[in-house]
């Protein structure tokens, strides 16, 4: 999320418009979806709450990625797409 937030959406699109690299996990879309039981999301109120909570949790991982990228001069320090 931090990687996307640090640049204008239009420029981000332009910079990646031909990219086909899709082997990555977008934390702000997936982290709680993949960690919690799907039954919790059946409750509408819980669904809304968790969807708002998800980006906040994903920030934890985005910050951790800058540590994972500590010595990696190849990619942006907030780039999460190549991290396994």
């Amino acid at each position: 999320m931090l990687y996307e937030r640090k640049q204008l959406p239009e420029l981000l699109y332009m910079k990646h418009r031909s990219d086909t690299d899709d082997d990555f996990v977008k934390y702000d879309d997936k982290i709680l979806d993949n960690s919690l039981t799907p039954y919790i999301f059946k409750n509408d109120m819980m669904f809304g709450f968790l969807k708002r909570l998800q980006p906040l949790v994903s920030i934890l991982f985005d910050h951790m990625n800058s540590i994972k990228n500590w010595k990696n001069y190849i990619v942006d320090s907030y780039n999460y797409k190549h991290i396994k």
């Binding site: 031909s18 690299d21 982290i31 994972k68």
Partner: protein, 575 residues
């Protein structure tokens, strides 16, 4: 570090406080807010995610010191190696050649329209036995064969599947991209193509290898596995213009799993199409017998972390093959040799390499049962090393090198053991043989095998109370046997009736205290750079005792385990 501990404790503390608060406020809190309830579930998950992040941070900070033996975080070691200039080797695909022969019952006129078939490069096929994918590696885009009766042709193949990823150029200097794969798959060490706006750009090892405005880029092992691609800055290599489409084609490999040593006929299935003269798809395996013509071998796994740590001190950044160590470094990086030694003699670098026997033995074989030929290089393997050296580094002008198999020095081992009374002999013996087999399969020593190494390994067997080992060297035994025979022959040639003095004249240099191939005091194995010690019988000692090369049976053999009594199992814990 105190801050990290503080924050991780606080998160758990906050969670406990919330739970305590809820329990105080609501009398049903134990039911509604238990870990099984939705809120409890969510809190636990978030707590675990947070703890994982903090744990990673702690590990990352603790492990920056590579000299610490507990520093085994692959990402950190790989990153440190890359920054130090070492390019960790990725997995290498197995390669070989298939032979296709037209079946006797195939009818060319009716089955192959136009009597021709066209095969494309990178055509995918699958081996039925190991279920892995292989790709054709024919060197041109397509090849067309005119089929005649009994027609035979050969197809070079490489293990792996080609994959493509595209990126958009941002037009900057030194732009770089990272290509990674998920799971145990790895990007092959040599087969990476970079195409910018449809043009193939050559790949280099370093930015300084690129000429001004040359269509070239640097391909290196990635910080996170996979590969990293770095483009130039005009002075060294052309910059892809903004919004150019950068295609990276690479081979996904399973490394050593792709080696095939059996030559099963018709064990292949073509996944991609093969086209006949009229453009129709034909099933090539129905019409042709497919045999393995040359072994599909030399597949190797990527560099292990232990290997990266060990090789860092001799890492060479200049890609020049000059010193013997640089030859050894380049060949060791291949990962298919368990033992590499290089030395210089009269201006020629001699490279002695032993194939990694683990890659060549079948699953049920061990060090003692593997064919002795597995320790030597055949001509095909030597030519592959030669090709690799010529493409892998810049060989210093006037420098000659020679690739050799090691000279095998035979040893046998006597092991004296006192086991615990509750252990069975078979169990102890098999554990000992297993430990010795593993040690010699992973042999990394280059001039001495200390007894301590083996005793340390054997000490981990819990059924053993005490152990000692002794090596017997064939070279040493041959030396003494030969000289003792000479002396006996000389003595017999004297006739005591004519000559009263039958004492041996000291004409030879024989010294009965000489020890060859062993340390005379410690008993360690000593060997020269061109030698490889192996534990294998099949020879006689100076007293004409035969040591069998068979590891089973009661006769004297490669490893003789001699039991010197037992210790009561009650004493197991008295250590």
């Amino acid at each position: 570090m105190a801050i990290i501990n503080f924050s991780s404790i606080t998160f758990s503390g906050i969670k406990s406080e919330i739970e305590a608060f809820l329990k105080e406020e609501y009398n049903k809190s134990g039911i509604l807010f238990s870990p099984a309830s939705p809120y409890g579930h969510i809190l636990s998950v978030i707590e675990n995610l947070h703890q994982m992040s903090i744990l990673y941070l702690k590990n990352a900070i603790n492990q920056f010191d590579l000299s610490d033996p507990n520093s085994n975080n692959p990402r950190i070691i790989r990153n440190a190696a890359l920054v130090a200039g070492h390019n960790p080797g990725r997995a290498i695909s197995a390669t070989g050649t298939l032979k296709l022969t037209l079946k006797a019952d195939s009818n060319i006129d009716s089955d192959i329209s136009g009597g021709r078939l066209t095969i494309s490069n990178k055509t995918l096929l699958k081996n039925n036995t190991n279920a892995l994918s292989y790709s054709l590696n024919i060197g041109t885009d397509t090849v067309t064969h005119k089929i005649t009766p009994n027609y035979t042709f050969y197809l070079p193949i490489i293990q792996g599947t080609w994959k493509q990823k595209k990126f958009t150029s941002n037009g900057n200097q030194l732009q770089s991209y990272s290509v990674t794969e998920i799971g145990s798959k790895d990007v092959e060490n040599f087969n990476v193509e970079v195409i910018v706006n449809g043009d193939i750009w050559s790949t280099k090892k370093h930015i300084w290898e690129m000429l001004p405005d040359e269509k070239a880029c640097v391909v290196r092992t990635g910080f996170n596995g996979g590969v990293d691609i770095v483009f130039g800055n005009e002075g060294y290599g052309l910059i892809p213009t903004i919004s150019s489409i950068i295609e990276i084609n690479y081979l996904i490999t399973y490394g050593s799993t792709g080696n095939i040593f059996r030559r099963t006929s018709n064990d292949w299935k073509f996944i991609d199409d093969v086209i006949d003269g009229s453009g129709e798809t034909i099933n090539i395996t129905d019409l042709f017998n497919v045999d393995i013509y040359t072994d599909i071998n030399f597949g190797a796994d990527g560099e292990t972390i232990a290997f990266t740590k060990n090789i860092l001190p001799i890492a060479s950044n200049n890609f020049v093959l000059g010193l013997p160590q640089q030859y050894a470094y380049e060949i060791k990086k291949l990962g298919v040799f368990s033992h590499v030694n290089a030395y210089e003699k009269t201006g020629t670098v001699f490279v002695v390499a032993t194939p990694n026997v683990r890659l060549f033995k079948n699953q049920n074989a061990n060090y003692f049962t593997v064919d002795i030929r597995a320790f030597s290089l055949d001509r095909y393997e030597k030519s592959k090393i030669d090709k690799y050296l010529k493409t892998g580094g810049n060989i210093q002008l006037t420098k000659k090198y020679k690739i050799d198999s090691p000279t095998l020095s035979y040893y046998i081992m006597n092991i004296f053991v006192i086991p615990y009374s509750d252990s069975t002999d078979d169990s102890v013996n098999s554990q000992i043989l297993d430990k010795i087999s593993e040690y010699f399969l992973d042999l990394t020593r280059i001039d001495r095998i200390p007894k301590l190494d083996l005793i340390r390994e054997l000490s981990t067997i819990t059924d053993i109370h005490s152990i000692d080992i002794q090596f017997v060297s064939k070279k040493n035994e041959d030396y003494h046997k030969e000289n003792m025979t000479k002396i006996l022959n000389t003595q017999e040639s004297y006739d005591s009736r004519l000559k009263t003095d039958v004492s041996v004249r000291r004409t030879s240099n024989y010294n009965q205290n000489t020890v060859i191939g062993l340390d005379p005091i410690l008993g360690d194995i000593l060997f020269e750079p061109e030698e490889l010690p192996i534990i294998r019988g099949g020879w006689y000692d100076r007293n004409n005792i035969y040591y069998s090369s068979d590891i089973d049976g009661n006769q004297m053999k490669s490893v003789n385990i001699i039991k010197k009594g037992v210790v009561d199992s009650k004493n197991r814990n008295n250590t």
